[in-house]
Subunit: 269 residues, 4 copies
């Protein structure tokens, strides 16, 4: 049975995240025998947004597709590239007329891979309905390929699990991003879609979701506006590997990844 | 070096969650050699709130303390018991005059254990500042014991990590609840506090955070008010074991637990 | 120049609101020489929703159209009537498949009147984009009549004013509902649309937006869930009269109404 | 019976708002025989925040006290002045350690006047409980004067009316700010406190709450981040005059003000 291995890597945050990504991308691809690598890059530039130079750098380093979320719009100089670079995707369910697109189909040696990015609405901006947008676009995507990965960029666990169940059997994987914390609920749903609530971030570990602890703590303690800064120090890459049947598009394995593992942080055992 | 082992079990949802808890509590306690068991029970009664009968049942089954979160107030007939049962805690940072209390100190064979419940405010009701409430109450708690567990019932990963860093070195563990999805970021922070963003729920796995998929999906698809119902089917217990030094109160081990593991759901490997 | 006079009456709250409406509807219609009367009735039944009996009563008492907002769905037994009664409108920008419709065209002795109900999204549920929904439906409505009233059921003053400017010149009036407090910013925008941020409620004055003060205050002071109740005591009707040119559909007069005025409550002058 | 006349002027927005304020402040004071003038100035500097130069200018032009709201923190160079200028107030219910203070008592020829600024929490940042903060600070203020004005900077009509009823009989007036739209519900509550849900803004009328229509509309239509700009064109001053008994502190008159009135915008009548 022919397989295809998708590697999805979570939100790359700032320089520490980028450097670790560039360092690990090739060896990880080889080790995991990944056929296709999707990287969420919405926090690449200083924690908010991405620039054309950074996008180019990550694509050249081996990312097959870069996805973005609510921070897609953080740096305005990326807007033209959103319209021209087919491997750079923002959430599909923004209003029409915003730059860019939210899905694409990409050739691999085994089979074409469809990628769809959607954004949630619970505790977030009122973008278009992700459930209906998914239904509409998957009709289109599924007519062209049976291998489909959905990056669901959302805050609430309920909305993420809801989309997982809604799409079960219609896509190969629904992988959450945005919270920057990897969840431990990876599974294959009954009709064959791999699911993970959040893949987690790729960024500095001694941080608050990638940002400097003191700055974020000042915000929580005072409620004053503060200028967020990416934290420094050692980083961790968070990802998930999904193995799909190339004929049916169904997942038969999902496996979480953290590199390095920093196991010592969990204590002597 | 004398150790104390704390087991924290996440939000017990409805009958499937309760039955699994009652079934696993004793064997798990023995297997893990847990000295003290804290169970978040805010979703015990039909998914929202808890009743005196259910609280009594769980305490008699071996839970040392029951914690509650934003759903503490879901069933009014628990209000009197909040005032009389010292082993039943609601978040400490509600306004004065609401029933109950948010912390307690409990004897064990090794050392007294302090438990503090706090609730977050990001994407939640505007309760009192959890950071300042923690500072105030920990002054009190730390004068009586060096073993302290904080249940931080909150939505946003940023707020949870922020409280973790804020309390690092002042408590033995900061364990998140409320999202019903276990996170994979367990660690011991530099000054010795064990930390986990969310311990996850104890409830039916084929569900949306414990509730019936069809009902929740109808809510997301239509935005109409719906009456939530607990899902049926097999359940999973989510927990975390923290091992603390009884003299310093510092954690030297944190270990996530899912029972049963349903490893097959992650696919053949 | 032939004129048409539209009277819009704001959210009728509970029995005190209904009784005042029934009492004032006919004399007010006569006094103001209103050709068409629209009544927002989303709070008619106990403050939340409406029943078929109450809807029928208000229509028989002289309301030409009843509009609803986010509380349209408060009482399930109204759902069938939403599908069958063309004079009962819920916001148009809910997802497809929910009961009812959000617009209609109604004959008068002078000209057909179009009514469109939209709901905002700022601080509210993520319904479909009211700006695009307005654009789509107004193409349809404007092909059939030049007299159009929009009831914009929304919370934020910014979103309401934004829709006013967005629709200026395309409709006769954009009248806000939902906050239950009449605003004093009535005007005719440069291209001819009458605008008022909120028309205010029709309900008991010694209240918090129509509900019992003690109950609402208990909610704010304790954050506990409480069962809202409609307040008792004297009521006030809030409305707005818009005079439109039947040929162009442009407004040439907008006038706020409060009955009775309770001028004494503003002090001796 | 000796009276004191308080004039409260709503959120001054940008240059158009400032210029109108400076132009009208003296003649209005004279015309209305105002003994004390409070001006909300949180939007004075480009629509967000205030600078020391602008604060000084408004105080020298005749404002007795300047109040601020959630935008108090928009321009960092005002922070030192918040600590040194007793006539510049930010909301009192921010966490301790933020700059400035939220209340003051000011001499007039007739009696000392207390001013207290509070901020709401519904749809806003989770500042400290405004109800409890009011109770605490009013104990202090009422021991020093019987003439007290509360500027309640809040979004939701329910929260504003709730504080009005909560403070009825304890202060001379509860005047809302923040929504930038004047409401028409001015009244004197049963125990003697004057109340108005929102006094409205002082700024450009062809705008969306003071900001450029095109920019705000772009934000609503695209959900992209945009840089807000103050609108241009003619401005309107919004205020409210409250007449209080200097002995009891009770209000016996409340009167809304809009200057100029732009009555023509309401149509020929
Ligand atoms: Fe992110
Ligand atoms: Fe994000
Ligand atoms: Fe829960
Ligand atoms: Fe909860
Ligand atoms: Fe309403
Ligand atoms: Fe409403
Ligand atoms: Fe303002
Ligand atoms: Fe404000």
């Amino acid at each position: 049975m022919p397989h295809l291995r998708l590697l999805m890597i979570g939100d790359v945050v700032g320089r520490p995240g980028r450097e670790l990504l560039l360092h690990l991308l090739k060896p990880l691809r080889e080790e995991l025998q990944a056929d296709f690598v999707v990287v969420n890059a919405e926090n690449a530039a200083g924690g908010i947004g991405i620039t054309p130079a950074l996008a180019t750098e990550m694509l050249e380093a081996g990312a097959d597709v870069l996805t973005l979320g609510n921070h897609a719009w953080g740096k305005r100089d990326i807007y033209p590239m959103l319209d021209t670079e087919a491997r750079l995707l923002r959430p599909a369910n923004y209003p029409p007329l915003v730059p860019g697109r939210g899905w694409g189909i990409y050739p691999t040696q085994k089979a074409p891979v469809g990628v769809l990015v959607l954004q949630g609405r619970t505790f977030m901006d009122p973008v278009d309905d992700p459930f209906r947008t998914a239904d509409d676009l998957l009709t289109l995507l599924r007519s062209q390929t049976s291998i489909i990965l959905v990056d669901f960029h959302a805050e609430a666990t309920s909305e993420k699990q809801a989309l997982g169940w809604h799409l079960d059997g219609k896509v190969g994987a629904v992988i959450g991003t945005h919270t920057h914390v990897q969840t431990a609920d990876e599974r294959i749903l009954p009709k064959g879609s791999a699911y993970l609530t959040d893949v987690g971030m790729t960024g500095p570990i001694d941080s608050i979701i990638g940002m400097d602890c003191n700055v974020v703590l000042e915000r929580f303690r005072t409620l004053l506006p503060v200028r967020m800064e990416v934290a420094e120090g050692p980083a961790q890459l968070s990802g998930v590997l999904v193995e799909l049947d190339t004929e049916t598009g169904r997942a038969h394995r999902i496996h979480r990844i953290q590199r390095p593992e920093y196991i010592h942080q969990r204590g002597d055992s």
